[in-house]
Symmetry: C2
Subunit: 155 residues, 2 copies
DNA sequence: GTAATTTCTCAACCTAACTTTAGGTCAAGG
DNA sequence: CCTTGACCTAAAGTTAGGTTGAGAAATTAC
């Protein structure tokens, strides 16, 4: 038992507040592993509602689906996750989140300084200086989010 | 004078740390308005380096290109922007940025609470509860970032 | 006066995260 | 039995933010 026949995709979708198509897509991305009933239809654990909630939260935190799949590795698929399971992966979240917040705050502080001094018009402004940003790399969607065109002299 | 022949796209690209193609794309999106020389090539103001810097910063802040175009409306295209110009739109930034930070902090606080109490497994957790999120709408990429499938009774 | 760069346009391609569509199958009700 | 609604698969479409490529014209360098 324990499996108690499972729930259908439509039910899961409604409970999670997602489109059915999104859930199929998530399965294709390896975020869920439903089984099939005799007629070939997907059956899910009720606990997958929480799993999907987690996915949605993680997305709000800025994680990509592959990254979320990684986080979910820590969540046992077979049994209902315990609070301890959630706590474990949640704390992984925590550090990512802290970093994002810190980055934004730094950006804001910089901006504050610039507003005060008008240095966006000057070459020594950290926010302004393109070379700084180009140098640190890996920020925005630079080069299709993966840094293709560069010198590439040697690995 | 003042226009002093302007600079070429390649120069601008290098100074801004962007690909040439990106700059053409930004022009197509209405973020820049270069003029053309006698041979039909784009010529830019030197001040456009800063304009592009602004675009890149705004992107890091999470603004979309249309939104950035809106912010740039306040930047006069014809003359070199003054520190006062930058200060004006920077302070517009400020409030957006504050909001983003606040949202993330709330999320973090919620998460902290959940880690402590294990309530991700319980129905009263704000982070967990799907219905809450489904109800507030307009968060993640729900329905292709624009809420299509909803009413759908007509058409 | 060439040769080598740059730049031009325009269309096609790319990734992420889904949705939509087309053509069929399964399950329940009357 | 027949209809209705939920479900199935596979492929194509969508949006954002660009990149890539082809073929031609303009600029720059020697």
């Amino acid at each position: 038992m324990a499996k108690s026949a499972g729930v259908a995709i439509g039910y899961l979708a409604e409970r999670a507040g997602l489109a059915v198509s999104a859930i199929r897509y998530y399965e294709a991305q390896g975020l869920l592993e439903p089984w099939r009933n005799s007629g070939g239809q997907r059956r899910f654990h009720r606990a997958d509602i929480r799993r999907l909630s987690f996915v949605m939260i993680a997305q709000q935190f800025g994680f990509s689906l592959p990254e979320i799949r990684g986080l979910l590795k820590d969540l046992p698929g077979g049994r209902t996750p315990t609070p301890a399971d959630w706590a474990r992966i949640s704390s992984g979240f925590r550090s990512h989140l802290d970093q994002r917040i810190e980055t934004l705050q730094k950006l804001r502080d910089n901006l504050d300084g610039c507003i005060g001094c008008g240095c966006l018009a000057l070459p020594n402004c950290a926010l302004y200086n393109p070379q700084d940003r180009a140098a640190q790399k890996g920020k925005g969607p630079r080069y299709l989010m993966g840094d293709s065109p560069e010198p590439q002299n040697g690995s």
